[in-house]
């Protein structure tokens, strides 16, 4: 590892209207270094990388990238092509792969001249195989990407960047979709590549992996760089404090004896076209005073399970009991009526109607309620008062309850949904990825509310891809894999990780 600088960001600033996304951020990256860019959601990590990559034009500042000889040149801003040509590669959190063509073609796609008559696939294959050998990033090249696992797809994305001779690789939350074991493999591969001279910036908000795998850490908060240190000198508590600007709110949970069953699923099957929509005769029981955590790699049937419990999917076999009473004809309305509160996975898409007001979104699940309507007409004053009260109680901040709910930030949208769900004192709460994309403060608030509901006597089904979250909140853990649900039996991270990956524990 040498100390030569390969990338320098000088005083980058970016505003979106009144929001300052980045304020005078400077960073340097050395050859062969792994720099972790740490910060809460909305801290400006992705914006910064998008400026580096030319997707956004900075309001101020400049970017310099070294050429093969180590000489820094300033990069024309706002041109992704220029960034690519200078050897900057980016792997986004959401993959940009064409599912119906194979990995080889996905990797070469876009790096060939549009009007070339012949493609030199042999040369391309040889080059990719060379990269695979050096980096250890194994991926089947001849299989359509649609049939690859998430981990394999991610390796294809990285290979795509390396194929274009990237010397600087930016990874945006690379482990969000991986099992702990897959994540470890990924970081080993990255280590191998940095020994060959690759420099890596990886964006994350998981402290554990940052401390384990980076050389240096830069922390962003509210768009500013608030700290930078060598990982060797870093202290977990100090970094966490730097990220949130205060001590991390610790979720306190007390042990509690489970009560009577509130939700029973027996022999529930859902047949879907895709694996993620399929359940194969699962049994599940959740008791009062109990949080059941469902761990699993995304796409193993979590959506199907959530859809069954929230009434969106009709099971092809099996039946559902809430509080010991069978739900005869499951539908979203029937589930709400039976006392199930639902926190949907995609809060923007399923949680709120963005064009409607905060107040309207707070009553959207109880339009039959005489408090909300009388004789088919909305009681607008009551709806507004209800919203004012809930906004205060659940700390929903934004431009007011009569403003469009799409103007709220992600965390406040989630608080709106929490208010709507918890206000009805549900018997069972389905929380599907309830903290995804939330900053630490908002995530802790979600955890606190779930524990509060458990204390009150509700049962909770917590579906999450964040194993740490499940380990921290759940009383009991089940693992979902390939449409099957099995009891984990313990809170052993290693064992659950193996079960998620489908290996016998």
């Amino acid at each position: 590892m040498t100390d030569s600088t390969v990338l320098r960001l000088n005083g980058l600033s970016k505003r979106f209207g009144p929001v300052v996304a980045n304020d005078d951020v400077s960073l340097t990256l050395a050859k062969g270094e792994v720099l972790a860019l740490l910060g809460e959601n909305g801290a400006g990590k992705t914006t910064l990388m998008n400026m580096l990559f030319g997707h956004y034009l900075p309001d101020a500042g400049s970017v310099e990238v070294a050429d093969e000889n180590g000489v820094l040149h300033s990069l024309p801003l706002g041109h992704p092509q220029a960034a690519l040509a200078a050897g900057v590669g980016m792997v986004h959190q959401h993959f940009a792969l064409a599912e119906n063509i194979n990995a080889l073609d996905n990797i070469t796609l876009g790096s060939e001249p549009l009007l070339a008559l012949r493609r030199n696939r042999q040369a391309a294959r040889a080059k990719i195989e060379g990269i695979i050998e050096h980096s250890g990033l194994k991926a089947p090249l001849n299989t359509p990407v649609g049939r690859l696992s998430v981990g394999e797809r991610q390796r294809v994305e990285i290979l795509k960047a390396l194929y274009r001779d990237a010397r600087i690789l930016v990874l945006d939350e690379p482990t969000a979709v991986l099992t702990p074991q897959e994540a470890d493999t990924l970081f080993e591969n990255i280590k191998a590549m940095t020994r060959e001279g690759l420099s890596v910036i990886f964006i994350s908000h998981k402290l554990r992996e940052v401390l384990a795998f980076s050389d240096r850490i830069a922390v962003l908060r509210h768009g500013r760089k608030v700290g930078e240190m060598a990982t060797a000198d870093a202290d977990e508590k100090a970094i966490a404090r730097m990220m949130v600007g205060a001590d991390t709110p610790k979720v306190a949970r007390t042990d509690m004896a489970p009560g009577a069953p509130v939700l029973n699923l027996s022999g529930i099957s859902v047949s879907g076209r895709y694996k993620r929509d399929t359940l194969k005769g699962i049994d599940l029981e959740v008791n009062a005073h109990e949080i059941l955590g469902i761990a699993g790699i995304s796409g193993n049937g979590q959506s199907a399970l959530a859809n069954v419990i929230s009434g969106l999917a009709a099971p092809s076999a099996g039946h559902i009991q809430v509080d010991g009473t069978k739900v005869p004809k499951p539908s979203p309305a029937a589930m709400v009526k039976a006392g199930i509160g639902r926190i949907p996975e995609d809060r923007h898409h399923e949680g709120i109607v963005g064009a409607m007001s905060v107040a309207e979104n707070m009553v959207i699940e109880r339009l039959d309620d005489p408090e909300v309507q009388s004789r088919g007409l909305l009681r607008r004053d009551a709806i507004r008062d209800n919203a004012e009260r809930l906004a205060k109680a659940y700390d929903v901040r934004g431009p007011g309850v009569t403003a469009s709910s799409r103007l709220l930030s992600g965390g406040n949208i989630q608080k709106l949904i929490l208010a709507r769900v918890f206000e009805r004192a549900p018997r069972l709460i389905l929380a599907n990825q309830p903290t995804r994309g939330l900053d630490m403060g908002a995530a802790a608030e979600v955890g606190r509310r779930l524990l509060e509901a458990r204390e009150r006597g509700a049962g909770v089904v917590l579906i999450s891809e964040d194993l740490d979250e499940i380990l921290g909140l759940a009383d009991r853990i089940m693992v979902i894999r390939d449409g099957n649900l099995v009891e984990a039996g313990s809170h052993d991270r290693e064992k659950i990780g193996l079960m998620m990956a489908g290996e016998p524990a």
């Binding site: 979106f16 209207g17 009144p18 034009l57 900075p58 400049s62 300033s74 990069l75 024309p76 801003l77 706002g78 220029a82 929230s310 009434g311 969106l312 539908s331 979203p332 309305a333 589930m335 709400v336 639902r342 949907p344 898409h349 399923e350 949680g351 709120i352 109607v353 963005g354 064009a355 409607m356 309207e360 959207i364 699940e365 339009l367 909300v372 309507q373 088919g376 007409l377 909305l378 607008r380 431009p399 103007l407």
Partner: protein
């Protein structure tokens, strides 16, 4: 470099100002073809204004023209609010008109107090049925309603021609393809002596008021808006999306059917296959100009009727083609679409950074 960024908070003044500005700009742009036709634009605009507001008769003609546009504009606006793309108002209009003459031109010789409500109800029902069928195909089989409703227009028109040369043909009509006239007691009463404006206008205005109120204040309107803005969230929240779609389909079709009833039983008296010069399609323009607001539909319908009637009278006075009216209406729609875009997004010019 030019970039487009969304505006943070499109204001209400913008939402109302943009259509008005678009209307003014489209009129200004009409000066170009007017000049090309050899007319003085200012005199031409003067003639247009005179042709609409110059006399009670002119005003009455404009209101007569606006009446079916309010009905079809409401039909489009409500359906579009639920993202149900009803392009079939033209066909539904004729279904309504056929129902009106089927019952009203002698089949049932009842007193007006019975016959008129019956004509209105049957006409609305026929229009509603005409929209329910494509909506069923959409909900059940996923058939795109833009295609089905549009194509249904032609089917209905040909069916109409068949009926006008068959069961509905006026036996006293000397073989012309037209229906027997609606009985006198079945006609919508005129609003003024010796003028063509009729009480269909009152029905249209009342319905626009009701639609405006229900959309904003009722649970029905709440569900409709939720389904249109985000069907997935509405479904998740327990709203029966299909029921909302069928409901608004029936109402949208009924409104278009009433346009037909109002033209037949308010104005013409009998049905021919050229009853509507495209009121169903113009209703879409009206709805878009109105920003899909029922109250806005009334204003937009008055504007477009003014352009049509004004251009007609101007073309007669100045000797230019009356197709100019279509030109202004089309341009105003384009201006509104561009204006709507500008209200939602801002266009920024940024200087290239040094390289």
């Amino acid at each position: 470099m030019i970039r487009i960024e969304p505006r943070e908070n499109p204001s209400r003044a913008f939402a109302i100002g943009i259509p008005i500005l678009s209307a003014v700009i489209s009129l200004a742009l009409a000066a170009i073809p007017l000049l090309a036709a050899g007319a003085n634009p200012l005199t031409a605009y003067g003639e247009m204004i005179k042709g609409v507001f110059g006399s009670v008769f002119a005003l009455s003609e404009m209101l007569t023209r606006a009446t079916p546009l309010i009905f079809t504009g409401l039909a489009a606006a409500l359906a579009f609010r639920a993202k149900l793309w009803n392009i079939g108002a033209e066909g539904q209009l004729y279904l309504g008109a056929m129902a009106a003459v089927a019952i009203g031109s002698g089949y049932l010789d009842a007193p007006g107090i019975v016959l008129l409500p019956l004509i209105i109800l049957l006409g609305a029902g026929a229009g509603a049925a005409g929209m329910m069928a494509p909506t069923y195909l959409k909900v059940r089989f996923g058939a795109d309603e833009v295609v089905t409703t549009l194509l249904l227009n032609f089917i209905i028109l040909i069916f109409l021609q068949m009926m006008l040369e068959g069961p509905l043909q006026d036996p006293m009509g000397l073989g012309w393809p037209q229906s027997a006239p609606v009985l006198d007691q079945g006609m919508l009463p005129p609003l003024m002596e010796r003028m063509r404006v009729h009480s269909g206008l009152i029905i249209a205005l009342v319905l626009a008021g009701i639609a405006q109120f229900m959309l904003a204040r009722s649970v029905w309107g709440f569900k409709l808006r939720a389904v249109g803005e985000n069907a997935a969230a509405a479904r998740h929240a327990g709203i029966n999306v299909n029921r909302s779609l069928f409901g608004v389909a029936a109402i949208s079709g009924a409104l278009a059917g009433l346009a037909g009833v109002s033209e037949v039983a308010g104005l013409k008296g009998y049905l021919t296959s050229d009853l509507s010069p495209g009121f169903g399609y113009t209703g879409i323009v009206v709805a878009m100009l109105a920003g899909l607001s029922p109250a806005g539909v009334v204003v937009a319908a008055l504007f477009i009727a003014s352009v049509f009637v004004g251009a007609d009278s101007m073309s007669r006075a100045m000797g230019v083609s009356s197709f100019l009216a279509d030109l202004v209406v089309s341009m105003s729609l384009l201006c509104v679409l561009v204006g709507g875009f500008l209200a939602k997004y801002r266009i920024l010019r940024t200087r290239e950074a040094v390289s």
